[in-house]
Amino acid sequence: MTGIRTYLAVGAGTALGSLCRYAVSVGVLATAGGAFPWATLLVNAFGSGLIGWLATRATRDPQSHWVRHQSFWVTGFCAGFTTFSLFSLETLHLMERHTVMAAAYIVASLVLWLLGVRLGQGLARSR
């Protein structure tokens, strides 16, 4: 699948992923408040886990649904669900006000991103 169809699949997947991220952010803001960027932490950790699972399933089972629709799910959905631009803004915002919280946010993010993707890979391998 190349050309315009790939762009459309990625665009649609990204739109769906971003809608889910928006739903998470609204839900988290209503329950946990806005003092700490829990929503971004959550979507980035979960999105990393999902891409680890999808990418590993794809190499194990090249005929699967996930491989045929990789543009939609991997390049689109996972990337749209996660966000680096907001992470950077939130990091800067915390740095200006609360150094300890900023450091905690950065460390927690790094750990959860890598743990997430490794866990996703492990789950896909154990199936």
Binding site: V10, T14, A15, S25, I51, F81, S85, S88, V117
Partner: protein
């Protein structure tokens, strides 16, 4: 904060545009800079962080917090344009292929450049209001 269906529609619309722009940039990077290092994701994330910083500096926090413009620009376009999932996967892939230094540089480089460029974008955005 409640814009009914307009909020989600703006997020989806912006994200579709941002996602397709990301595909364009990563393809260009793969073509001209090769595929040994994920230059495309690095370019997308650092330029997206700069753009987010610029938008925030230029328009101000109040204009972007859960406003239609903020949902379109930050939640949609830039949220769809940038990615943490690819960054995580590519870092893990480099690490497991024994390219430890490249994995470390990718993650730390993205993080550092992202924060620096978001700050620079904020400064430039605020000085152009």
């Amino acid at each position: 904060m409640d814009h009914g269906l307009i909020g989600p529609a703006l997020v989806a619309l912006g994200a579709a545009v941002g996602g397709m722009a990301r595909l364009g940039v990563t393809r260009l990077a793969a073509r001209y800079a090769g595929q040994r290092f994920p230059w495309g994701t690095l370019a997308v994330n650092t330029s997206g962080a700069f753009a987010a910083g610029f938008a925030l500096g230029h328009l101000g926090r109040d204009a972007l917090s859960y406003s239609p413009l903020g949902l379109l620009l930050l939640g949609g376009v830039l949220g769809g344009y940038t990615t943490v999932s690819s960054l995580s996967l590519q870092t893990l892939t480099l690490w497991q292929a024994q390219h430890r230094l490249a994995a470390f540089s990718n993650l730390m480089g993205t993080l550092t450049l992202g924060a620096l460029l978001a700050g620079l974008g904020g400064y430039l955005g605020a000085s152009t209001t």
